[in-house]
Symmetry: C2
Subunit: 180 residues, 2 copies
């Protein structure tokens, strides 16, 4: 399940441009599958080459043509086949946890800053989740609700864990040596 496949999945909800998909990668998918233009545009080109999507170029004055992609029947078949992977992975890449692992090499005030910023980041996600709910979540398919709820549950768990255990990282034992 690469960016290509996720783009194809997004196109099952209707035709869209690369720009439109980017907005989805930032909002609904933001908490579990981010992608930038450098992945999206090549993915769409490649999908078009393989006949999995069709492309309509809509001229615009001054701006580059808006390229609207639509999933084809072949694309739909390909997607359903890709979704049959029995073990789709779930990976975390956390520079935050890597830094905390080495907290004893950091200045206590820097550890505090990192924790505060992480809590703020979590709060931003939580605000986004609440926004989704007030907007339109009741119309959503069950899968979308499940994924949103998953994000909320994990965000709350992270928030609670940090609140309850941050004292471990800034105790008297943490490296005065690095605090020169």
């Amino acid at each position: 399940m690469d960016v290509k496949t996720v783009c194809l999945g997004m196109l099952t909800e209707g035709p869209a441009s690369g720009y439109d998909l980017k907005k989805q990668f930032e909002s609904t998918f933001g908490h579990f599958f981010a992608a930038g233009y450098g992945s999206i545009y090549p993915a769409l080109s490649s999908l078009a080459d393989e006949g999995l999507v069709s492309c309509e170029e809509i001229p615009q004055d001054g701006k580059p043509d808006r390229k609207v992609y639509e999933i084809t029947p072949a694309g739909h078949d390909y997607l359903c086949e890709a979704l049959r992977d029995p073990c789709p992975c779930h990976k975390v890449r956390s520079e935050f946890l890597a830094a905390m692992f080495f907290a004893h090499l950091m200045r206590p005030e820097d550890v505090e800053t990192v924790l505060e910023n992480r809590l703020e980041d979590i709060a931003r996600y939580q605000a986004m989740f609440r926004q989704f709910e007030v907007e339109n979540a009741s119309d959503w398919p069950e899968g979308k609700k499940f994924v949103l709820g998953f994000g909320k549950a994990i965000a709350s768990a992270m928030e609670a864990y940090i609140a309850e255990n941050r004292h471990l990282l800034v105790s008297q034992s943490t490296a005065k040596a690095a605090n020169g």
Copy 2:
């Protein structure tokens, strides 16, 4: 905070080979920062070129030389500077959630399989966490304990969420259309 920096951090606990570091990336760091040989060996070469680690080649008969790397004072300074990033990121890349997002395009039995496999994966992580604790967790620095506890908390939250909400994904409404 790239693979290079994390390798440098690992070397603060003592000299090690690329092979040794790989084992750490699979065990202690496995749940939040994975890396393969394709990242580790170039990282160590690069660190050696920059004088941040020194390398001792220990000849072995039949096998390639064992290269043991040791952090230098310059490496220690570099690491402490790298750890001062106030906003280290925490990213999730979940093919699992992407698949569940499109659960309505999947066969109900395939959705079940995916959920079961995810629960098994979580159970494996939990077993690993328990193993760390019985082995040596009491000697660990606070940061290491914090990160282990974080992994445990998030694993439990994921497990509980899936157990409580899986019924949403396999209700009568889920795509009979794809169930040809």
